[in-house]
Symmetry: C2
Subunit: 111 residues, 2 copies
DNA sequence: ACAATTAATCGTAATATTGCAATTAAATGA
DNA sequence: TCATTTAATTGCAATATTACGATTAATTGT
């Protein structure tokens, strides 16, 4: 026990849950917002901006990269991270589709 | 260590992260979708529909209730759960606001 | 009052996540 | 080449999450 039983759920359900998980930490939210704020890229500035240690930031970047929502390209000794607009839009749509589902149904309260 | 350092982040960042966390499990996604699907309420049917044990479902319901996104009212020996439309709309808006932020900035790739 | 039904809670095991010090890897510049 | 800079990786401790058996709490029907 202890591990999520992904086999019980659909691909879409697991996909959405994983997307949510990628956003389920304030540091990762802060990283994404910082990437947006500085328009293009940013590197270890994140370590200065957020108050977390370098390995911790690196780990969060790793997760965001794994989720596909950001990309990192080496630039000299530093690494430039940026949001992947395509994946970002996909996230946006998946979440929106999920939230929209209620519009058709919930007019007033049930219980 | 091991605990999230919420004090390093803004209220909004923590709020969004917590909302995402509420959605960050396929069982909770499935529960919400089931509540939508059956329009109004549902009770222990969830235990039958999803393949998880009763205490596990109960725990996920607890988290969703804690997040405010669902409500439960006692009806005889069973409990009727339903989505809170107001909170649902808030979730929708918070996520949308977050995703929208990129529209103004990311036209083409950076790195 | 008492059996039956339903769901919450408790306790616990397994696993996952968070965070960081220490180290390593990779690239640059002198 | 070698020191410097930057970021990834390793290893580990603390905490959180997930899952469920066993039990408890609450309500209903008899």
């Amino acid at each position: 026990m202890g591990a999520t039983k992904t086999d019980l759920f659909t691909k879409k359900q697991n996909e959405l849950a994983n997307m949510a998980k990628a956003l389920a930490h304030p540091a990762r939210i802060a990283i994404l917002q910082q990437l947006i704020k500085t328009n293009a890229c940013i590197c270890g500035n994140l370590v200065d901006v957020l108050g977390l240690a370098q390995p911790t930031i690196s780990q969060h970047l790793r997760e965001l990269k794994l989720a596909g929502i950001i990309r990192g390209t080496v630039e000299g000794t530093s690494v430039c991270y940026c949001i992947d607009p395509k994946v970002w839009q996909k996230y946006r749509q998946v979440f929106n589709d999920f939230f929209v589902a209620v519009d058709n149904l919930v007019k007033d309260d049930c219980c």
